[in-house]
Amino acid sequence: MEKQLLRITVNNEYHELYVKPKRLLVEVLRDELELTGTKRGCNTGACCACTVLLNGVTVKSCSILAMQADGTEVTTVEGLAEGGKLSPIQRSFLDHGAYQCGFCTSGMLISATALINEKPSPTKKQIKEAIHGNICRCTGYNSIIRAIKAVAEGKYKEEE
Amino acid sequence: MGYKCPSCGKIWPDTMDLARHVFGTGDQAHKDWVNSKGLNFIELLLIQTMEPGNKGYKTLAELLEKEAEKVD
């Protein structure tokens, strides 16, 4: 099958690539663009380890063809820290030890970022629902919930 | 005093310990020794689990009392 032109902005960088039509977004991100921060934990869209932001909304990048993301803006975990400065969510994760093996962490951070962007002061219930899809086998989730709650409570307000 | 395993020579303080070692090691050499003495290794193990009391181990321990070399 003939390759098609994919125009995509990832972490504020514009790319033009030729990709096979069957290629998944997660494959293009990890292989062609070498952004291996986004992981894959399954083949059935069940674990959310591959979660990225597509035009500001969380999507499972294993469940989207790369060509479906043509013309969009994608944010991966590598795009959260601007110029080496960690985002509030990232700093909170560090302080709360909200990761262990780290394999689900990228997806978790993206889900958390999307939540805070949409609802700056979510309740615990809303936090749990926002990361319901993200499977973590190591932490038991509570440290992640505490980390997100702390950001929600304004403890990591950006310094001007 | 101790008892020497007739199969591999390891020394154990009493015949129950020796029986535990023989069953636990369970390799062909130990099985062959038990079977050569008129008992059946597997049957003894199954008796241990299917019947009340410590029958399988006690039977082997009795055999070892007779057959195993006693050392100081």
């Binding site: 992981k39 991966t76 030890g97 990761y99 780290g102 038991g140 992640i144 | 390799d27 241990q48 410590n54």
Partner: protein, 758 residues
């Protein structure tokens, strides 16, 4: 409570920045020039002879570079119990016979995964299907299909533990109970599936990047099965995306990628799919448990007899250890005047069962703690009181097995009792159940037959005071990298930022047996502490020469200040002393080594952690659904080293153990796993996780570094039992068959109603 500068302070995990910025490179991420992609073809039959394999069509497909089968191997049957040859029974790539659905029979390397997949469909294999056997009770019957030539009646291993006179004990008992239990299997569900990138170069050296819990074991096992010199094999594993017991044996990704690379002299990457992960990697050992227990009417324990059959699956794997440990921990954490355990591991035509967090102890604890609550209920005794009456205590000797040194069990019971009282009366269909446990801090056994110390460490102090710490332990998320850095910093008297950690590479790191059996904190920790103490001593010698104190004074280093302990204002900067010390040593950096191997520490472990967990659960009588409301754990891990880490481990262990208790239901039919995906196999999600509270009970363990013991694995033991007991107190139902699913609850409710009617 002793105050430390580094340990027991909330330090950021030292791998934190890498992990939260997506920079951590797992073997899953490795990409090398000219790398090929591999796929493994697996047996669809649970038991069959391999008659013929024809790989010609597959080899002819464009993009396929090589196909390997069993005939391309040295035919070595390997296993991790190297000292016991008959237990080394697994070829990995089957040559003449397959014994479980999912057993590898061929592997392909191609330019991409899609091509490799296509090639697999072109491999022609002729099987002669044989009758299979799937349950241990069936497999030991006369005439059952025999899996291995050497194993009559499919009996793989047996274990026996005994002390006192159990039969006399039963005669003296006022109350005797018999109960049967079935403990299910469980899947590890590491987020990073098994994978490997193997690269064999023309100088006959093999490098393998892989996701593992023990790069040392993989190095040795690979060199064995491939016929290579041990140190011509290099295994690299800087980050591991979860292990939980599934990743310290040689696996199909490592073996097949190595074989393919050795044929092609190009790197070959194999990543197992999630489906393969369920079907064809090892899993928790399912157990059929019989317990007979005799007590006095005041609740004093007198005698316990346990008989267990485990479903071994097709190969020994680590199943022999699980068999022993379940028998050992069945008697934990109480004083039993007499005890007898007989365990049988039976081969079956199912995926091999092996090690999973807890290693036989979660199964033991579920059965033991469920029965204790039933006995307490029979006798009208409070569940806490009956446990307190029989609890282990510091100095207790488990006859012929172990000496318990530190033990905070009684304090844990007190804390939990207090919490339960604070909850007051519960609403209907709600109950609090408890379970007590004890667990090992690393094993004393050397069935791997290593000639090395169980754990080693090397320290080098450089001119700017930066410390290179080389360790062999593996961080799979449990935080050992941070723990070791903290131990080194505390002992040496510096801060965490002064340490540069080297791990995960057999080429440069000293040997450590790996992250399993909860051994890292105690064993690697002791080795690190020893090395740090020796390095500190060398620095102190120079400081002493400089300060010339009265000979009765001792020196120490704390917070980068080398000083007299009695007169801390008299001292020197650590940085200055290091500079001079190195000059004084002919310009050589300060180097020190440490190691640890348990000697004469009983039959199991040098030290034991303890705890009591309470689970507050609600049962919906209409649906049978269980909702976890709260979970409180009082636990004793000796001195806490990494508090953020311990809390995380506790919550994670609880989630995994709760899954074992009520949501994770591995269904199998005639050897075929029916739910090999994350939708149908349900691990706990964030919305199901209750509030968790941790109460630390501090003790000091003389065997451990700074008094520390394990904390990550023992916490997996109690939850299933506590949950089951919560269901019992909420509904009067005792479900003895894990997991406690809604269907089982409804079935039990139905039975209860029937009995009432009668």
């Amino acid at each position: 409570m002793k105050k430390y500068s580094v340990i027991n302070t909330p330090i950021h995990n030292i791998d934190g920045i890498a992990k939260i910025t997506g920079r951590a490179e797992y073997a899953f991420d490795i990409k090398l020039p000219h790398m090929l992609y591999g796929k493994i073809l697996r047996s669809p039959y649970p038991h069959a002879k391999i008659l013929k394999i024809n790989t010609k069509k597959a080899e002819g497909l464009t993009g396929v570079k090589a196909v390997v089968t069993g005939k391309d191997t040295l035919g070595i049957k390997q296993g991790i119990w190297r000292r016991f040859k008959e237990l080394c029974d697994e070829e990995i790539l089957a040559r003449s016979k397959v014994r479980y659905i999912g057993e590898p029979v061929a592997a392909v390397a191609a330019v991409d995964e899609d091509t490799a997949e296509e090639a697999m469909d072109l491999i022609e294999i002729e099987y002669e299907s044989l009758p299979g056997v799937f349950e241990p009770i069936e497999a030991i019957k006369e005439g059952a299909p025999q899996l291995h030539e050497h194993a009559e009646r499919n009996i793989n291993v047996t274990r026996h533990i005994e002390w006192g006179d159990v039969d006399e004990g039963f005669k003296k008992a006022d109350h005797v109970r018999e109960d049967w239990f079935r403990c299910s299997s469980q899947h590890h569900v590491c987020m990073e599936t098994h994978n490997a990138v193997a690269s064999f170069t023309p100088d006959k050296k093999l490098t393998v990047w892989t996701s593992t819990q023990s790069h040392y074991y993989i190095q040795v096992l690979l060199s064995w099965v491939l016929g290579l010199r041990e140190n011509d094999v290099r295994v690299i594993s800087r980050y591991t995306g979860g292990g939980f017991g599934s990743k310290f044996e040689l696996d199909s990704a490592q073996f097949c990628s190595s074989l393919l690379s050795m044929k092609l002299f190009k790197p070959v990457k194999i990543i197992l799919t999630r489906e393969e992960e369920f079907m064809a990697t090892k899993r928790r050992t399912p157990m059929f448990y019989y317990l007979r227990t005799g007590v006095k009417k005041d609740g004093t324990f007198l005698a316990k007899e346990g008989r267990v059959f485990t479903e071994g699956g097709a190969y020994t794997s680590m199943g022999a250890t699980a068999l022993y440990l379940t028998g050992f921990f069945q008697a934990f954490p109480y004083v039993w005047p007499s005890y007898r355990y007989d365990g049988y591991r039976v081969y079956t035509n199912t995926a091999p069962t092996s090690a999973m967090r807890g290693f036989g102890a979660p199964q033991a604890t579920f059965c033991a703690e469920t029965q204790i609550d039933l006995i307490a209920n029979d006798l009208g005794i409070d569940p806490i009181k009956i446990r307190r009456k029989n609890a282990m205590y510091p100095g207790y000797e488990v006859p012929g097995q172990a000496t318990i040194q530190s033990c905070g069990l009684s304090q844990c019971l007190d804390k939990i009792e207090k919490w339960i009282k604070s909850q007051g009366k519960l609403p209907p269909n709600r109950g609090i159940g408890i379970a007590a446990y004890g667990f090992m801090s690393g094993g004393i056994f050397n069935w791997f037959d290593t000639p090395y110390a169980f754990s080693s460490a090397v320290i080098q102090v450089n001119i700017d005071g930066k410390v290179d710490l080389y360790i062999g332990s593996q961080d799979m998320g449990q935080g050992s990298n941070t723990t070791m850095t903290m131990i080194c910093a505390e002992e040496l008297g510096v801060q965490v930022e002064d340490i540069r950690l080297h791990m995960g590479d057999t080429e440069s790191c000293p040997v450590d047996l790996g992250a399993w059996g909860s051994r890292e904190t105690l064993m690697q920790g002791n080795a690190v502490k020893m090395a740090a103490a020796k390095a500190k001593q060398q620095i102190i010698e120079y400081a002493a020469a400089k300060l010339s104190p009265n000979i009765v004074y001792d020196l120490d280093i704390k917070d980068r200040w080398v000083h007299l302990i009695a007169r801390p204002e008299r001292g020197l900067s650590y940085y200055d002393v290091v500079k001079e010390a190195i000059r004084g040593k002919d310009g050589q950096p300060i180097i020190a080594r440490g190691h640890y191997t348990p000697h004469r520490k009983g039959m199991i472990s040098p030290a034991y952690s303890f705890g009591v967990q309470a689970v507050d659960a609600e049962v919906d009588p209409d649906t049978g659904k269980i909702t976890l409301k709260n979970c409180v754990t009082a636990h004793d891990c000796g001195q806490v080293i990494n508090p953020l880490g311990v809390k995380g481990q506790l919550e994670g262990a609880m989630a995994m153990a709760a899954g074992y208790g009520y949501t994770e239901d591995p269904s199998m039919d005639e050897g075929k796993i029916l739910n090999p995906n994350l939708v149908d196999y349900k691990v706990l999600r964030a919305t199901e996780m209750p509030e968790t509270k941790v109460i630390e009970v501090e003790t000091y363990e003389p065997e451990g570094p700074f008094g520390a013991k394990e904390a990550g694995e023992g916490l997996t033991n109690p939850t299933a039992g506590a949950l089951g007991n919560a269901v019992f107190h909420a509904t009067g139902l005792s479900v003895k068959n894990l997991p406690i699913t809604p269907e089982k609850v409804l079935e039990a409710l139905k039975e209860k109603k029937k009995k009432k009617k009668k």
